[in-house]
Amino acid sequence: MFPTMLTQTQFDSGALAGLASIAHPMRDVGYWRLAAAGRRVAPRRQFDVIVREGGQARYAIELADADRGRMAGLGEGFLAPGGMINLVARGARTGCHALLYGDRPDEPLWDSRELRQGDGYACMPMRPGSWRIENLLDGAVGRLRVAYPDPRTIAAGQRLATALVRVTVGMAILPDDLRIDPGQLLVFAIDVRCRLAVTLEQPDDGPPELAAWREERSRMALERVFGNDRC
């Protein structure tokens, strides 16, 4: 009943899976080919990318699902210069990556396992707890805390934050100590070569007094509706 993306405890920009996305800008006019790769991607699939004036702002590609392939309604692979390829692999069990080819079919011009300046990576860690953010290519590290969705704050009228949280990946990962609510998207703006891993280190199952609080809260809610039939 709960899809695995809810319990995803690791994100890797080089092995795209689950609630994550990679964006790659296409600046020059021309013809390109994107190949999906990964252990469980079979058959290897290819996408034509045509960059020219009058194209779309983005081209969304689902790498893992053989049935879905290209997203409908975005124009088949016609990108305007400055538009971006959006990659997701939501159904992937193990991660996927993508290779972009130009004229030379054996020389990839871009490999999603090594993101570059101008690329973007986003992921949504849902599991409350403390996470570690690391650039696997240069060792830069940051800390992330996903707060437990405490129902007591919901009861007080607050709601989970939903705003995007932007992180810059440069010489260091900044900010390097993040606190987010589950459901907020981490968006990494990339300035250096990187492969980003976001990993759960310590899960948080919430304060122990919550069980009793939930019971009391339920009881009060029921009484409001059904009335208290004890004197």
Partner: protein
């Protein structure tokens, strides 16, 4: 004047009608859904008797009250948990990078369902047996009487002409209903949580939906408002259309009840058991002795008629002799 005249008073007629009217259990099972709540009801009634017979000139009588007894009332509540979705928004626009450009979205996170669209809780099966005696169903009707020759008798039958079922109401002045419903919701919530760990996932879903507890989500879907009885009767009367369901059941059950059963042909003497030796001059074939039973001489019923006036039902017929 007809050979034979019989008249039945309104009071006696009502007693006789009330005796033939009771039916066995009439069960039903209906469901409806609205705004995330699936509402089902399985119940059974039976007709216990009749009250308030009022003859109308001609061949009809009005019945003030068909006594309906409730035997069973069981609710089934199913909750459609709203789909929890993430994504479906733009991460980066073109003019974030190139301010003079348009605000087209260049990077979008696709919409993803966290919990499937068919997630639900239930059905809670809630036995309202403790309050069936408080369910008030008022049914009145107009009936017609006519004679039918059938299987060796002339049957005076009652046909339904129209039946009116009022919206049902619940006179639960002692407040049993809230306790029953409350217990069911508590049990459902507890069962769901036990069956669907981990706790953080439920808290997360509830947090995204904006409910502090599962109970509050269920109560929101139930949408009971201030008056529980009014909520329940609205579901039963309007969404389920219970009066129509009951009308159909009653109509089928009351179809053609026999009020009076007139032997046809009509025996003019009882059968006689006799010793052969006491009689003579037998028409052939003579019965073997020593005793025999003579069949009853009988006359057929002709020109039967049945009509009401203000106070009496008048039945007339001639003998075919």
């Amino acid at each position: 004047m007809s050979d034979v005249s019989l008249s039945v008073s309104e009071a006696a007629f009502e007693t006789i009608f009330s005796r033939i009217l009771p039916t066995p259990l009439l069960p039903f099972d209906e469901s409806a859904s609205f705004a995330g709540l699936q509402f089902g009801v399985a119940g059974a009634i039976h007709i216990a008797g009749a009250d308030g017979v009022d003859f109308e000139d001609g061949d009809t009588f009005w019945l003030d009250e068909l006594e309906i007894a409730w035997d069973k009332l069981v609710l089934r509540l199913g909750f459609d948990i709203p789909t929890v979705r993430v994504g479906g928004f733009c991460i980066l626009r073109l003019d974030d990078i190139l301010p003079w450009e348009s605000n087209d979205c260049v990077w979008e996170l696709p919409e993803t369902d966290l919990f499937g669209a068919d997630t639900d809780i239930g059905p809670l099966v809630i036995d309202l047996g403790p309050i069936v005696s408080y369910v008030v169903t008022e049914v009145s009707g107009r009936f017609r009487i006519s004679g039918v020759s059938e299987g060796g008798t002339l049957k005076l039958k009652v046909h339904k002409q129209s039946i009116d079922v009022d919206p049902i109401s619940i006179q639960d002045t002692f407040g049993k209903l809230p306790a029953i419903l409350q217990a069911a919701i508590v049990a459902a919530g507890a069962k769901y949580v036990t069956a669907n760990p981990p706790a953080f996932a439920i808290d997360l879903a509830l947090g995204i939906l904006g409910f502090p507890s599962l109970t509050e989500l269920l109560l929101d879907i139930l949408d009971i408002g201030d008056d529980l009885q009014e909520w329940l009767t609205r579901w039963l009367n309007v969404e389920i259309g219970l009066p129509n369901v009951l009308e159909g059941l009653i109509t089928t059950a009351v179809l053609k009840k026999t009020m009076f059963d007139i032997p046809d042909p009509y025996s003019l003497l009882p059968p006689i058991k006799m010793d052969i030796a006491d009689f003579g001059g037998f028409a052939d074939p003579q019965p073997p002795g020593p005793t025999t039973t003579l069949a009853a001489p009988a006359a057929s019923i002709v020109n039967p008629a049945a009509r009401f006036d203000a106070d009496m039902l008048h039945i007339r017929f001639d003998l075919g002799l």
